[in-house]
């Protein structure tokens, strides 16, 4: 087939764009977003996607056009003996430079909101990653961590009030892990010996995945947790239930053999 190779390369932009257009129809896309900063991040993602998508389409089409037009088999004209163009170099240096710098500056506020300016509230919960589980420590009625009334849960289920600012203290007991909530667009590696803060606001009730996103050993794949967002009254009831359970819990000590 004439121009087979140019058309093969033309498939790149065609199928490349088609993949992104049809993916949502197969229900593969950014996961459902239930947080506030998630929307900002999704918007920034889409902004970059459209921008790079446009550059992708244009450059790949130019590539196709050149391959098609300047195919040695059909191009009768002599080659253009050119070593380059100073003006063009300036154009395609300055325009991308300005665009890239703009993208960087445009992202800064979102980054600051997500990682640099924690809200001035007390900790909602302490999250500890360990091989291969997420442990949670709630401050209890006195709202202070590391006191007698703390509630410690090791069942991998984190309960949080919905529509409220949450501040988590996150750390690790052994190796690196990463506390990743896909539906809230938050992720932070947890490092042993370092306590870090994470903050967000969940806007929809329900249960969502907690994923470990940093390789932490053979059981990395199953280091799964769930986060449940509850209305305030249900949340309070849940914590009261936990406190009661903790206070009445008896530990059976096996007799020594």
């Amino acid at each position: 087939m004439k121009h087979f190779w140019s058309f093969l390369f033309f498939l790149v932009p065609v199928l490349g764009v088609a993949t992104f257009v049809f993916a949502p129809h197969f229900n593969i896309w950014l996961p459902r977003d239930i947080s506030e900063q998630g929307r900002t991040i999704d918007n920034l993602f889409m902004f970059i996607l459209y921008l790079t998508g446009a550059v992708f389409i244009v450059t790949e089409c130019v590539l196709f056009y050149f391959l098609w037009k300047y195919d040695g088999k059909s191009n009768e004209k002599p080659v253009i003996f050119s070593h380059g163009s100073h003006a063009l170099e300036l154009v395609w240096t300055i325009i991308p430079a300005v665009t890239l710098l703009f993208i960087a500056i445009y992202q800064m506020q979102a980054w600051a909101n997500d990682k640099m300016d924690p809200p001035a509230i007390s900790y909602t919960c302490e999250v500890t990653g360990r091989q291969f589980n997420w442990d949670f420590r709630y401050p209890g009625p006195d709202n202070e961590l590391y006191t007698q009334d703390d509630i410690v849960r090791t069942d991998g289920k984190l309960y949080l009030p919905v529509n409220e600012e949450i501040l988590l203290k996150i750390t690790s007991a052994d190796v690196l892990h990463s506390f990743f909530l896909p539906n809230l667009r938050v992720k932070q590696d947890v490092v042993p010996g370092m306590a870090q803060k994470m903050w967000f606001k969940g806007k929809k009730t329900g249960g969502y995945d907690i994923v470990c996103a940093e390789l932490c050993g053979w059981g990395h794949y199953k280091m799964k947790g769930r986060v449940y967002f509850l209305p305030r009254d249900e949340y309070d009831a849940k914590l009261a239930e936990f406190t009661a359970e903790q206070n009445t819990m008896t530990v059976e000590v096996p007799e020594e053999e």
Binding site: W5, L8, I28, W29, S85, E89, T93, D174, G193, H220
Partner: protein, 613 residues
């Protein structure tokens, strides 16, 4: 050995290639035995081919490891046919979770340290540098030979690590402590990790010896008339790569020894106070896990340019040859690879945006990372400019080179997502990253390597590869690799994390199984279609049609030497009159204008001055 060292030194001290050293070198060769000619050879071409064969063998090993990963992601916990017995015999071919983490670790380790870096710098660098600059060999042939033989301890250590207790390293190719340091943290953190560190150290020593040699050779041994700005892009890229390597590698080597210290003699560089994992005895610690990440990425970010710049150089040469037209914007190309090298040292933090590093640093690294996209963009536009107005010959080498450009556009653009810190919070450590670096390293560098092999094969072995089968190989590879890596972008958009042996028990990722099965089948076929290349390669070495000196009608100096070049490379003293890209020049009737062809008598050249283009 000593006499040849002295000989090397003398040659180095003289610093220019003269007819005398030429003759001396020739004599030197005739007296050597088979062992010295083909095994412990000092000849850069033999060493280059040794690197080529070794890395191609490891390429298939790395590929098979990837097949294991793909099988597990498509059919979790099902016994793997064929390979399963080799990878996981005791478990009846079922890939256990610790074996899965070993697969991802060793796939990356093998591909990066044993394939990409040594095939570009070791194989192509060794073979091409003296030929393309008009030298009879490297500046220090003994060092060159050692740079190859120092790979063997590394091959041994990494190869052996599969068979020690606990298996090979499992802490990822990034080897983050404490997982990699505390022996109880993972089965692979036993001897496997120690062997891994030793292996990487030896690769480092080998690369360091190579890079010193390359820099010296390119600076000192260029033929008369071969000014820096008449060097082909391949050589410029090798030169900049050698500089990058020389400055970045010591950091990795030092960090490797620090990690060995932490593992073996109880130092605490990377362990916090009281660190423990999996009921291990408590470590004294007092160090910082993030320190390793800083040191590691201070090397490994420049290293990603070590893995792509030579490929860019080779692609530039191939594109110009088969577009039959000068390279568009030679100097901007040189400046942009220099720019990449400079900026490459101040962007490592973008691997650590969510690592716990001070978020303020994230801002600076975001800006520098955005800016490093610029030289890559300039290069892409110049490649398009090179194709513009040419007479394109779609040889196999050219197809691979064009696919490099087409794929590099994708790999380059997807990098912008990660550079943007807020977006990176979500896509960090997901398949979006996996898609990105495979687009750069497989769809980019590996395509350039295939292109380079098809292009320089006639020079390496004196025979041509079969072009029709080459095109079949190209088409299958091109289509299938896009089926493998392109959908990974949308996997990543859903937050699908890397290195998870079974992600489908998460509600969020349950629906991704069919897509992963599609990717895996494409990957199996991609692997299978490389058989065409292997057969074509070996068949052509013995039975391909004779190539002659210059089968592509190319300008480069290497094409003026015999194919394959004998010991000492050139059978005449090359004198260079112009750059390597004067295709379609009005000064000559042919459509090419070799670098060594004296210009027609003009008043200028009569005065003895070579015209500069």
């Amino acid at each position: 050995m000593l006499s040849s060292l002295i000989y090397d030194y003398r040659k180095f001290a003289m610093s220019t290639v003269t007819a005398e050293t030429h003759a001396a070198h020739g004599e030197h060769a005739h007296t050597s035995s088979f062992l010295k000619t083909y095994v412990f050879s000092l000849d850069h071409k033999i060493i280059g081919l040794q690197f080529l064969f070794s890395t191609l063998i490891w390429f298939s090993v790395g590929g098979l490891l990837a097949m294991g990963i793909r099988w597990q992601l498509a059919y979790p916990w099902r016994a793997m046919p064929l390979l399963g017995n080799m990878l996981a015999g005791p478990e009846g071919g079922q890939i256990a979770p610790e074996n899965y983490t070993m697969l991802v670790t060793m796939h990356a380790t093998v591909m990066i340290f044993f394939v990409i870096i040594p095939i570009l710098a070791g194989a192509f660098g060794n073979f091409l540098i003296p030929l393309m600059i008009g030298a009879d060999d490297m500046a220090v042939p003994v060092l060159n030979m050692l740079s190859y033989w120092f790979m063997w301890p590394a091959f041994f250590f990494i190869g052996a690590s599969f068979f020690v207790e606990g298996g090979a390293a499992q802490a990822g190719w990034t080897s983050y402590p404490p997982l990699s340091v505390i022996q109880e943290a993972a089965p692979g953190s036993l001897e496997g990790q120690t062997l891994w560190l030793l292996g990487v150290t030896f690769v480092g020593i080998a690369s360091m010896m190579g890079s010193i040699n390359y820099m010296t050779t390119i600076i000192q041994m260029r033929a008369p008339g071969m000014t820096m700005f008449r060097l082909p892009m391949t050589i410029w890229a090798m030169f900049i790569t050698a500089i990058l390597q020389a400055f970045a590698l010591p950091v990795l080597t030092a960090a490797g020894f620090m990690q060995l210290g932490d593992r073996l003699v109880g130092t605490g560089f990377f362990l916090p106070e009281g660190a423990m994992a999996n009921n291990s005895p408590m470590e004294t610690g007092g160090g910082q896990p993030l320190l390793w990440q800083h040191l590691f990425w201070f090397y490994s970010h420049p290293a990603v340019y070590i893995m792509i710049l030579p490929a860019m150089g080779m692609v530039s040469d191939i594109l110009s040859t088969f577009a039959r037209k000068p390279l568009f914007g030679y100097k901007p190309m040189v400046y942009s690879i220099s720019g990449i090298a400079g900026l490459g040292f101040i962007v490592w933090g973008h691997h650590m945006f969510v690592s716990g590093m001070n978020p303020m640093l994230g801002m600076t690294f975001m800006v520098s990372t955005m800016m490093i996209a610029l030289p890559s963009a300039i290069k892409t536009f110049n490649w398009l400019g090179t194709l513009w107005g040419g007479k394109i010959q779609f040889t196999t080498a050219m197809l691979f080179a064009i696919s490099f450009v087409s794929m590099f556009i994708i790999g380059g653009l997807s990098g912008i997502f990660m550079a943007a810190t807020p977006v990176d919070i979500f896509i960090h450590d997901t398949y979006y990253i996996v898609a990105h670096f495979h687009y750069v390293l497989f769809c980019g560098t590996a395509m350039a390597v295939f292109g380079g092999i098809y292009y320089w094969f006639p020079k390496m072995f004196g025979r041509m590869m079969n072009d029709s089968w080459g095109k079949v190989h190209f088409t299958l590879t091109f289509v299938l690799m896009n089926c493998v890596f392109y959908p990974m972008h949308i996997l990543g958009m859903q937050g699908f994390p890397r290195r998870l042996a079974d992600p489908y028990h998460y509600e969020t990722f349950r629906n991704l199984l069919p897509l992963n099965q599609f990717i895996s089948w494409a990957a199996f076929l991609l692997m299978a279609s490389q058989i065409i290349f292997v057969i074509n390669f070996f068949w052509s070495i013995f039975f391909g049609p004779r190539a002659g000196r210059n089968p592509w009608k190319a300008n480069g100096l290497e094409w003026q030497a015999p194919s394959p070049p004998g010991h000492g490379n050139f059978d005449f003293q090359p004198i260079i009159y112009r750059g390597p890209y004067e295709y379609g020049s009005p000064e000559t009737d042919e459509d090419y204008y070799p670098q060594t062809q004296p210009p027609k008598q003009t008043p200028e050249s009569a005065e003895g001055k070579a015209p500069v283009h």
